[in-house]
């Protein structure tokens, strides 16, 4: 085992336009690594686990930054920093759940360079996987967390498939709650993928966490105005208030009319490999009064179907409580 913090050699490219970036991605294929804020990427390089031949710094490409209003919502460049998102009056006023989620990521310094695109594309934080051992996700044939002795407090309640790691992102659940669309480009053109479909679990591909394939660049995130100005709730529960990953987080948007919750989307992070949309909760609450009975029913159903590991049973009451708060306090 060698020491961990000197990056292996790579070639660095700083394309100034998208076309150049796509050429490089095509040229290097799986050996290319598009770099956004670098806050997860550089760690992988320092660990010497991910070893791209060519690192393609996207920061110099015009048009991948900034927050713009569109005809039916907003479009956020994938390289927009988390600080910009947390402080944007537009996002705070209309899409507060995202602003709040962004403000809870890591630390001020990380938010100053970490991007929205990078935050949602970051790899899982399973401590076994991050230590560089040969688990399923790393191409091996075992999982060290999902064993009788494995230390799996941070691991998943749902949709395990060989791997039990969870999504670590705070902004991803907010984007799913807002029904965002991911704009992905490659040499063949552009495609849009709903946030809900953007994240993939180990059943689909155990070595990736998003649908992005070599050659793809996530260029922007579109948020429809559907939930603009809606009631919202975001809460992250972590061991530390700075620089920590959620044990569980919740992002919710609710459309309330009088006493009635007309519509809602509720999403939890930290409970499965992808942000988990709580359809059952939504079905219970939609069209109901915001009363004790609805809140209790919704909370009680939040974690239905969970399969606990040895150390993560607490995530069931935590999910239930966060959903309760999301509906009660939004």
């Amino acid at each position: 085992m060698s020491t961990k913090d000197m990056m292996p050699n790579f070639d660095l490219f700083q394309p100034s336009d998208m076309g150049n970036a796509f050429d490089l991605l095509e040229q290097y294929g799986a050996d290319a690594w598009p770099l956004a804020g670098g806050q997860d990427s550089l760690d992988w390089f320092k660990d010497r686990v991910k070893r791209p031949v060519a690192v393609i710094d996207l920061a110099g490409i015009p048009g991948m930054n900034g927050i713009n209003e569109t005809a039916n919502g907003i479009e956020i460049g994938a390289l927009t920093t988390l600080t910009e998102i947390a402080e944007s009056p537009l996002i705070r006023d209309s899409y507060g759940v995202l602003a709040e989620a962004a403000s809870r990521v890591a630390s001020p310094q990380i938010r100053n360079i970490g991007t929205l695109g990078g935050n949602i594309c970051q790899d899982v934080r399973c401590w076994y996987y991050r230590s560089g051992i040969d688990c399923y996700r790393a191409g091996g044939n075992t999982c060290y967390a999902d064993t009788p002795e494995g230390l799996n407090r941070e691991h998943c309640l749902f949709e395990a498939d060989r791997c039990v790691a969870v999504t670590p992102s705070d902004t991803a659940p907010a984007l799913v709650a807002l029904d965002a669309t991911m704009v992905i480009q490659n040499t063949d053109g552009m495609r849009e993928v709903a946030a809900e479909d953007f994240f993939i679990g180990p059943d689909v591909d155990i070595e990736r966490v998003t649908v992005l394939e070599p050659g793809d660049i996530l260029t922007s995130i579109r948020i429809p105005s559907t939930w603009a100005g809606a009631n919202y709730y975001f809460e992250k529960v972590a061991d530390r208030e700075t620089w920590d990953f959620a044990l569980v987080n919740v992002a919710a948007v609710l459309r309330v009319s009088g006493d009635t919750i007309e519509g809602l989307r509720v999403v939890c992070g930290g409970v499965q490999c992808t942000p988990r949309r709580l359809n059952g909760v939504e079905d219970i609450v939609r069209g109901s009064a915001r009363d004790e009975e609805t809140i209790e029913l919704a909370a009680g159903s939040a974690a239905r179907g969970a399969t606990t590991l040895n150390y993560n049973g607490f995530k069931i009451p935590l999910m239930e409580n966060l959903v309760k708060r999301a509906i009660r306090d939004s």
């Binding site: 044990l247 607490f314 009451p317 309760k324």
Partner: protein, 814 residues
Amino acid sequence: MADNPTYKLIGKNFTPPDIEAKVTGASTYSEDFRAEGMAYVKMLLSPMPKCRVRNIDASEALALEGVYGIMTADDVPVFPNPGEQILTNEPNFVGEPILAIAAVDESTAANALELVNVEYEELPFVLDPLESLYPGGPDAYSGGNLVSSLRIEEEDELGDIGVVSHKWTARDFAAVDEGQLPMGQATMDWQYGDLDAAFNDAALVLDETFVTACNSHHSMEPRSAFSYWQNGKCYVHGSTQSQMFVVPGLANLIGITPDELVYISEFCGGGFGSKGGAYAVMALPAHFSRLISRPCMLRITRAEEYYLGSARASFQGRAKLAFNDQGKMTGADIYIVQQGGAKNPFGDFGAAGTMVSLVYTPESMRFRAIPIGTNTTPCGPQRGPGQNQMSAALEPLLDKAANALGIDQLEIRRINASNHETLTGGENRQKVSSSYMLDAIDMAAERFDWSNKFARNGERNGSKVIGVGIGQGYHSAGIAGFDGLMRILPDGKLHIHTGVGNLGTYSYASTSRVAAEVLDMDWDNCVIERGDTSKHLPWTIGQFGSLTTYTMSRANYAAAMDMKQKLQEIAAMDLGGNAEDYDLANETVFNINDPTQSITYAQAAQRALELGGKYSGEDPNGTNPLTQASVAGLAGSGLIGVARDTTPLNEHISAMVATFVMIELDTETGNYEILEFVSSGDCGTVNHPLGLVGQLRGGACMGIGMARSERQIYDPQNGLPGSVGLYQAKPPSYLDVPAFMDVSAVDQPDPTNPMGMKGIGEPPVGAAVGAVLAAVSNALGGYYFNRNPVTSDMILNAASGREQSNSPLQILTQ
């Protein structure tokens, strides 16, 4: 804290001479040094918790351009098992250094390391001392699990006789209930008072099994070191809390004599016990530099700091406590099994017993303990080693007793508080020199407004509930017998030489002010010489153990009195009369009967040079050989004051802190916020008010970390440590500690110190962890975790009636 009217300098704030460099970035830590032609050293670490290196093939690595050389265990001295090794072929923890490569830069060294092929033979390992104690259980060390010096007298120099394999019987394990600590043969076993009577007559008996966390020191500066050889001497820039205390050990690690070593440690980016003396890895660049004839820099990474930088030992403990109906602890029967770590364990276990005897003053007590090796990071001392684990374990239990007896939680602490007559436990019971703990408790209680705050305990607001808690911390706070050295130059300036190190407490400076106080020097005319052994420093205690303030104020006082005597003698020689006719004021020596008869210090220094002998440094005055060498180096430069602190000390110096907190705990998230924090300490006379409150608050932050987030975890399957990054090991941030902490001190002098001072660095940690854990238990209506840290998952499990994930004796776990 009010100004102390007795003194001109003591009790006053001042600007320490090194602080400006810290705010401008000019401060130089060991990794800030550069030299032409220097090489960068990187290490290959053991990937397994216990293994044997069968073969090393470095041919490809050595062929890499820019690589200067390799060092393996064959190239460095071997130290007695289970001591730390510089490099080893028999690693017994993940991250223990096996070999190192030096290259033109760090990238090249890291690239080269990947080309080294090492064949390992995997060996059985153990993480849990109880597993090792079970008949047939694995041993962590080569040849045993217990340091034999703890059990037998003789120790072989290099062999494996330094350790023995110590096992309990299957009957020992069967004799207890599931989840209770078994109690086989211990290595420490002392008792006082009539324990049986205490338990027979008790109004309440608690019998609790508990565990405490292993947690890292998280010093912000990893233990990097830089070294080169020049003119027959080895220069080492190291990261240590201490200065002179490091020298003998480091010289030994390098294989040279102390006079062949120049040790430079002007700044240290935090140690908290983990850098108190010399440690093995800091000698690696010196060895490498000798091998390749280049200056060598070893930058330690954060992950390496976690792997090999040591950690506080876990305890698996059992406390049987007897109380009478007034809440007096009449009996304490304590058993501690200490996680020994992979190397020679620090004596946390012994301190745990002393802590119980002094903080709770049980009328009778039995204390048993045993440290057992584990294939984990070495367990070295961490700020209040042993004492603070006991605060974490016992403070909530004191509330459990108070509740059961219907006694106020403040009152049970008051009734058990130590006083000036309290004796330590142990083989040789010692009386404390002073204890104002009751005053500290009362002071904090008043500032906290205890009765009104406690009335709010359990107050609910939706999912949030108020919890109030008290914690107490203790540490020994001073010893005697070290040297002071100072000189007055012909320009009249007082140069105070200090070898204590620069941990960040500024006590190197505040204890130097004792000399200035005695000699009535203007502080602006004083120069502190420190940070580099070539500056001729005296043999002094290191900066650890809450010892510096007490110990070095005594030593500097002794040397200042020697200086005073010499000044008086010189004045008498020149102006007539006897030395006793003269006194000191305003940097002059004057005749008490005729103050116009005087000479300045500058004149006296000039006269000292003419007089020679003891005045100019030709008599080291019975000091340590290292001090003697320094005195010789200074001889002829001015008037020398030098002395060993020989005033007898037969009492135990004790410092204590009482802390009160109010938290708001959210039963829906398991999180809590510390709303109010009040601490008061007994540290004798306050020397440096800002430095003191910095220690009280800083220690509290560490205690809060112990209470809420910090722990080392190890995977039981492969022995891999899981807390090797800050986000995994979780020291508290700005947002995890209270936004404001009220801290104060009793400020009553200790009779055994010339200025009344005692140390205070460590007790605030224990007081804080105890108070926070007590508050959590109180908020949950008397739910006792018997474990630290208490994390949100544990609180959620408690609040939702779920079983906890851990078994009661499980350590190093989540």
